[in-house]
Symmetry: C2
Subunit: 112 residues, 2 copies
């Protein structure tokens, strides 16, 4: 699909999609048209983008996402990949703990 369709389906702007692509979060290929240089995005990209939307809200950085994308690439050693992903999961859980603390603190200001 082309960038416009991907934008519409993912909810990200074209600019943001290009920004993510520049940062290695997704990849596209140049179509085989002789007349234009429009890029082609696979459904894969859409899947990733949907994950990115939630992941960004969860507080993950673009660099985090990149390392995840790279880890899940075929070329990446399975052991290394597992370690990277595990690390990210732990970071997320730590953040969840901090959220729990913050919520308790705020609830206290309400009742206290």
């Amino acid at each position: 699909m082309r960038i416009g369709e991907l934008a519409q389906k993912s909810g990200f702007s074209r600019d943001t999609i290009r920004f993510y692509e520049q940062n290695g979060l997704i990849t596209s290929t140049v179509g085989d048209s002789e007349t234009n240089s429009y890029r082609n995005y696979k459904n894969d990209c859409l899947v990733w983008l949907k994950f990115f939307a939630g992941a960004r809200e969860a507080g993950m950085s673009v660099a985090d996402l990149r390392s995840i994308v790279e880890a899940t690439a075929e070329s990446c050693d399975r052991e290394v990949a597992r370690a990277v992903i595990q690390r990210k999961i732990e970071e997320l859980k730590e953040r969840a703990d901090q959220i729990g603390n913050a919520v308790r603190f705020l609830e206290n200001t309400l009742s206290g």
Copy 2:
């Protein structure tokens, strides 16, 4: 206490403390010395800073923190304050949900 002590006790750098102060997260008073203009921070500041440390890790912005600080001020209407804090709690819970989703996604890439 002076900024150095506050920095040491809170774990934030002097610069960050000044930055937070400029952004209305904490306040200090000018001491009553005739010879210097050193600022004085109350224990209150330390309590806030300790909360900020976790809250920032939880993904709250400085603007978020500011609205919380303002809401808990004496001068703020209790009803308004409650609404602000409730809102922040909900945002945190949403973020926690997103974290849950991201964790599940990542765990899937490990097992799947």
